[in-house]
Symmetry: C4
Subunit: 253 residues, 4 copies
Amino acid sequence: MVLYLEEKLQYYTMDLEISHAALKELVVANRILANEGVVDAFGHVSVRHPKNPERYIMACSRSPGIVTIADLMEYTLDGDPIDQQGRSMYAERHIHGGIYEVRSDLHSVIHSHSHAVIPFGLTGAEIRPVFHMGSTMLGPIPIWDISDKFGDTTLLVLNMEQGRDLARGLKHGQIALMRGHGCVVGAETIKKAVMMAVYLEDNAKLQMQAMQMGQPRYMTAEEIRLCSERIGGDLAIDRAWEYWSIRAGYSDI
Amino acid sequence: MVLYLEEKLQYYTMDLEISHAALKELVVANRILANEGVVDAFGHVSVRHPKNPERYIMACSRSPGIVTIADLMEYTLDGDPIDQQGRSMYAERHIHGGIYEVRSDLHSVIHSHSHAVIPFGLTGAEIRPVFHMGSTMLGPIPIWDISDKFGDTTLLVLNMEQGRDLARGLKHGQIALMRGHGCVVGAETIKKAVMMAVYLEDNAKLQMQAMQMGQPRYMTAEEIRLCSERIGGDLAIDRAWEYWSIRAGYSDI
Amino acid sequence: MVLYLEEKLQYYTMDLEISHAALKELVVANRILANEGVVDAFGHVSVRHPKNPERYIMACSRSPGIVTIADLMEYTLDGDPIDQQGRSMYAERHIHGGIYEVRSDLHSVIHSHSHAVIPFGLTGAEIRPVFHMGSTMLGPIPIWDISDKFGDTTLLVLNMEQGRDLARGLKHGQIALMRGHGCVVGAETIKKAVMMAVYLEDNAKLQMQAMQMGQPRYMTAEEIRLCSERIGGDLAIDRAWEYWSIRAGYSDI
Amino acid sequence: MVLYLEEKLQYYTMDLEISHAALKELVVANRILANEGVVDAFGHVSVRHPKNPERYIMACSRSPGIVTIADLMEYTLDGDPIDQQGRSMYAERHIHGGIYEVRSDLHSVIHSHSHAVIPFGLTGAEIRPVFHMGSTMLGPIPIWDISDKFGDTTLLVLNMEQGRDLARGLKHGQIALMRGHGCVVGAETIKKAVMMAVYLEDNAKLQMQAMQMGQPRYMTAEEIRLCSERIGGDLAIDRAWEYWSIRAGYSDI
């Protein structure tokens, strides 16, 4: 499969002032999230512009599993496209802008309808790290309910006010559930955000099963602190990234 | 894989007075429903004839995952074939005719044994939208029990009287569960019917898990109204359709 | 993939006095059962010799998902090979011989560790048809416990006495669970046995989920009788067989 | 796919004084464990050096699903590489060294985050053989909690003291759960370890489901003894290995 046209690539690379490697990383992140079951036809992942913190890069309105470099667009934090070229845009892009605006420490954001987390958002049960790979979520995950501030809505985050409110819903953490909708994950890098999103889903699945068997023993705060530092290190992330990339069809990595 | 013979296509296109694009859409719908796990060896999808509301188009008796354009047949609402050409027919085609006859607002119908919905039909638990993608089902889903009117049967819908009764079982909605059997989904277009069928299954799965964890918070009536309008719009449906088509092998889209 | 050598095929065809089509059907059944998740590395399917009811045909000791025609062997009902040619044999072949001996109405037998049925065998909960496709099992499924007659064993059926006892455990039905082990399915034809085995697994899964939600409404005895006749007919079976064959790689059908 | 370079192979074969067949077996074990869902991006499998019991062979820090012969490294029991060649190493290699040191009867070790076993470790519920394929685990599986001796940690086994403690946690058995982490499986051979790891996962899944339905009937101690001898024999293991190898892409076996 030809994933992108080389000439197109050069064009976008110049336009966005981002290296080929950085753009490709974002494309691969899209494909991994689809291939590992974090996103389906919907959901999206973005990265803050490495040279301009007031901008971010994200695909046009296309399912993550089929995103290519030619689909990547540059946005202001308010969600305005720099060079739209007629492409349609994710309606919920304000999730990304809101978080980048409120949280200067976060440089990559994933929004998904990751299945195992949704029942927690619906029942108010708290997702907490139950196994070491879940420690990257750092602590119990807050549930953001759009109706708390905005009443009856589409449940979608459709403007910057809602995006900023969601960002505050992270409560200094990096993950929030969105009631009746899904979740949002923010991290320092794309690779780390993907790692967190994959294992958030696994942790939720395992916790749900354990809760049906009895009272799960959760990780202690200190275990979470020690383990997340280790698991969140480059060595672990790079090993997983290499594998997930190959599974998603990027055999040249 | 060659999906159809061009000459055959031309023949059928003329015969049915339907465009190539419309026929192909129905074939792709068949493939998507199989590939996304809504149907297995059984189940079917039809579309009302765009130029003759008293007719509909559906495959001959073949599993949706392997339907081609050459398998498409034209039927009267009573389920009589216009040009059978020796092909065997779905015994339950009266599901489709019954709904098209009773419900002039519906132009595409899917019948499936979609797994997650069946336990609801068996226990009388009500499927209700728990997450935004489930809002397309509009409200709680009625359960139609063929034995209410017809006593002990094969559970299959084998004649127009049963088909019409099922159509009335929709109760002005677009989805009904069929006790001990599966469900039926009707919509204005093929693409919308597929979207509803895919997310009905997801909603049922998530609701089932949430019910095991506690009392799920359901979407409010107003949230459902607002969200279904949005999710049911072309932008969302086209994004999903493009992705599902590619996953089902239609790389030329 | 070359599934068999033509010259080998001819040899076996002559040796077994069975048509190429019949042998191929048994090979395809092996592949379908693996591909549809009924068997894993273990499990087996046999057919009674069409010209000699005192013999049956089954693969040598090889996982069903990779069986070819060259693996097929002819056995006496006692499990003695007619022409072993050094091939190793399934230790549990007496399941097949026992059933063919005791039940002259059954001509194909499947033994599997089909996952969803095992928890029923472990807890004594009764599998009963909950949806129309499950009606082929005919009624509640008896649980055969090898320890009832043979005390502590390997749980495996390793001789004719055990095979005959299992056959009697069918209690005039066609399916029995084997406690702590799996199940056995017998039918008039290979295709029907495969159909029953696939939907036994589905029925068990759906029933398990429904039991967690409340009290499932089971099919009535009359519904089972009417529906099993219909579903067990050639039209339904041939539709499923065509699809499953193609999914398992037999695109020439 | 070219899995390794022949010249590299020759080099490593000489270096490690292990036959090509033995090295390939370890590579295939890596691939099978990934393909059958026992390991994901993380987890590892090793074999004791056949000519030097004070050494073991294991891949460098790479996901099992993409390990090749060129990734194999030789270690002392203390986890020091014999010839690192700049390759990064699994941080938790001391799991392997600890077990090989403490348990001279074990010659292959698998560490995984096998999903179904984790909820048992979290709730203290005991995994016990419920079906014949689970008999290879021999008895109830002990749960090793790293915090019992080491207090708050990363949960990872990062030094020999922890590795030896885990080895003692096996309590004369061959499997131990690791609370909040996964499990470890030790066996006499690579093939047997893989067999045990695959069916440990299945047994845990089936037991979990049975526990939700009622009180499972567990295998008796004598059934476990008789069955494990049989299932653990070469005939059963070789049949499964052939199948799993082919599924994992090793069609030349």
